[in-house]
């Protein structure tokens, strides 16, 4: 079997007692690229956060399995070592910890004690990835995300992705705030990982990213559910026409209307 399988079944997630996800079903296999689109506030980041184990999100129902293992039973770091990766929409800034030290700790976290990556090997791998993503080498010695521009943070997330080589990656708006050159570079980095062992869930608002990274499946999320799935042409239609036609097709009313009713 090629790669891992992430299965999300009937996932319900609340934040501060407000239900955000209301039964999400989604399966991602090694080799597959899925895109998730949907209006602001419909729960895309919530889905990503719940998969990774963000402390504020509470799963109230449903399951997440990675190759049959119960992800919800795992701590955040265990999920990562099991093969999951989340490029965050808003990565934290960690003062005093250099990007390079952080990367090395992350790599060593998945290796046995006594089998740490040799320093020279690490530097070589990091330098190659920095070059590939056209990132200034000084960034490795800067404190993690501190004072990084929006675009630098996104590149840094992809740098981590390339060095950590997860089984399944979730990229939450990796394209937001990127200029067109950065978008190409970031896409190049993601595409480099594309093979039958690597599965990816790409959350985005824009077709322009999907021009560089062609998804196998496109899902539309609304009001905490996946309401429609299709091929790459679905993303193109959303770009051209927005979401109203889906709402009409499925008879979805706006949240506020629903609440007032």
């Amino acid at each position: 079997m090629a790669g891992s399988t992430l299965e999300i079944k009937n996932l319900h997630v609340s934040i501060e007692d407000k239900e955000i996800l209301k039964g999400v079903n989604l399966t991602i296999k090694g080799g597959e690229f899925h895109a998730v689109m949907g209006p602001n506030g419909t729960g895309k980041s919530t889905l990503a956060s719940a998969i990774m184990g963000h402390p504020k999100y509470e799963v109230t129902e449903g399951s997440i399995l990675l190759d049959g293992e119960d992800v919800l039973e795992m701590e955040v770091d265990e999920r990562a070592r099991a093969g999951l990766f989340l490029a965050m929409q808003y990565p934290s800034e960690i003062s005093g910890v250099t990007t390079s030290d952080f990367l090395r700790s992350s790599i060593n976290a998945r290796r046995a004690e006594g089998d740490e990556i040799p320093l020279m090997k690490f530097i070589k791998e990091m330098d190659e990835a920095l070059d590939y993503l056209e990132i200034d080498k000084n960034m490795a010695q800067r404190y993690l995300n501190e004072g990084f521009s929006g675009g630098e943070k996104k590149r840094n997330e992809i740098l981590q992705l390339m060095l950590l080589k997860p089984e399944i990656a979730i990229l939450d708006e990796i394209d937001s705030g990127l200029d067109i050159d950065a978008l190409k570079v970031v896409s190049k980095g993601i595409n480099k990982l594309r093979d039958e062992n690597f599965g990816c869930l790409i959350i985005t608002h824009y077709q322009r990213l999907l021009n560089y990274i062609t998804p196998d499946v496109v899902h539309v999320m609304m009001q905490g559910r996946v309401v429609k799935s299709g091929g790459p042409e679905l993303a193109q239609r959303l770009e051209a026409e927005g979401y109203d036609w889906i709402k009409e097709e499925l008879g979805i009313e706006d949240e506020t209307v629903e609440q007032n009713a």
Binding site: E75, V97, S106, R110
Partner: protein
């Protein structure tokens, strides 16, 4: 006056102590006067910490220490202060109250640099010591502890860098309180004459977990016109030592005094670092870190007083508290009338690692001049769960993630220490204390 702090030593004891060391008459007089003052002066009152129950009275005043022939005779925790492949050229080790080891490069001697223990300095450089000893920086009668210090001073260092001498290689001192009951009334006097520069680093270390004693340390650092002093320190007294650590700087015209201080004591500590920017265009960067654990109580004051025009003072204090340890940071920027175009900035932050840990940060700006700039930042908080989440989402364990955040939090000061081996040592101590 409480019974606790009643003086265990009288005038005839002090006279004899001074006579045995062949001290000059002025020094003996100074001690006796100080002793009299100690009797009537009040204890210091550090802001927001009650020290009335702390042990400042129980200690053994004197203890000698043997000399060592080689650095390899030292316990490993002390050897760790040095880079073994590149032993310090200028090093003094004080064991209890005796010099155990001392080396100064020929180059420095030729240039007239003085780097010796305080008792030798009183004999060989009497006038210089007399000129500066408890005169321009710390006064004998500030409170009971400064007076006691002057009366009972039993160790220390004198450093003097003559005019126009620039020292590139650091001077390093280790004060090793080997005897678990011995007190340390240690006096460090560092004088950089006009247009000179030096880097000085000191370490205090003791192992008295249960035996109680006192460290009463006064450090005076004088930077004459256009002198540059980089002063690093790592204090590591064990839980049994109650410490009063007073490091005071005076910077004259165009002079700079930079402090990088690691306060890693395990006992209760009053720690003050005050710099007087007397001259125009003088500057001080006062950086300090601390880690508190157990039931330790610490009070740390960083204060910069601006007298000179266009003087610049930057205070940065970061502390990590675990268990039921408690720390108060007082940051004081004071700009006197006439010190126009001066800038007083400060930042104090406490990170608490447990429910019972306590932290307090009091930023104070006292400004008597209109044409100045000043700013302060202070925070007391816990490790940000989102930072931990982010680090852990890359596979890093919670423990390692916390370690990274803590080291990162302390890095701005640790990285500033001027000797790599001392920096590494401080990093190790932080590791030991936080884990």
């Amino acid at each position: 006056m409480t019974v606790d702090t009643k003086l265990p030593y009288d005038q005839s004891y002090i006279e004899q102590f001074s006579t045995e060391r062949n001290e000059p008459a002025w020094m003996k007089d100074l001690r006796i006067q100080a002793l009299e003052k100690a009797d009537t002066l009040e204890m210091p009152k550090p802001d927001k910490t009650n020290i009335s129950k702390w042990n400042f009275g129980q200690f053994k005043h004197t203890a000698a220490g043997e000399t060592i022939s080689s650095l390899t005779d030292l316990p490993t925790e002390i050897q760790d202060f040095f880079d073994k492949d590149n032993l310090p050229e200028n090093l003094l080790i004080q064991r209890n109250q005796s010099v155990a080891y001392a080396t100064v490069s020929k180059d420095l001697k030729d240039k007239g640099v003085i780097f010796t223990d305080i008792f030798t300095a009183l004999k060989e450089h009497e006038e210089l010591v007399k000129r500066y000893y408890m005169k321009d920086a710390v006064s004998i009668d500030e409170h009971r502890l400064t007076a006691l210090h002057a009366a009972l001073m039993n160790g220390g260092i004198f450093v003097y860098v003559p005019k126009n001498v620039q020292i590139e290689v650091p001077l390093q001192v280790v004060f090793w309180q080997e005897d678990p009951e011995a007190s340390l009334f240690n006096h460090v006097l560092v004088v950089a004459d006009e247009n000179s520069s030096l880097t000085y680093v000191e370490n205090y270390i003791s192992n008295n977990e249960t035996e109680e004693t006192v460290a009463n340390i006064v450090t005076e650092v004088i930077a004459q016109n256009n002198a540059q002093i980089s002063f690093g320190a790592v204090d590591n007294f064990a839980a049994g030592t109650t410490s009063y650590v007073n490091r005071r700087g005076v910077a004259y015209r165009d002079a700079t005094i930079d402090w990088a201080l690691g306060q890693m004591n395990d006992g209760n500590t009053v720690f003050e670092n005050i710099t007087h920017l007397v001259g125009d265009n003088s500057t001080s960067n006062a950086k300090a870190v601390t880690v508190g654990r157990g039931k330790q109580n610490t009070n740390m004051t960083a204060k910069i007083v601006h007298f000179g025009k266009n003087s610049e003072g930057y205070i940065l204090q970061h502390g990590v508290m675990k268990d039921s340890a408690s720390n108060v940071f007082n940051g004081i920027g004071k700009i006197e009338h006439g010190a126009s175009k001066s800038n007083a900035e400060q930042e104090s932050r406490v990170l608490m690692l447990s429910e019972k840990a306590r932290g307090d940060a009091n930023p104070i700006l006292l400004i008597d001049e209109d044409d100045v700039t000043a700013g302060h930042a202070a925070s007391v908080g816990r490790v940000d769960p989102l930072q931990l989440y982010y680090l852990m989402s890359r596979g890093i364990t919670q423990q390692e993630a916390e370690r990274l955040v803590i080291h990162g939090f302390l890095a701005p000061v640790v990285n500033q220490l001027p000797i790599d081996s001392v920096k590494a040592q401080l990093t190790q101590m932080i590791e030991r204390k936080v884990n």
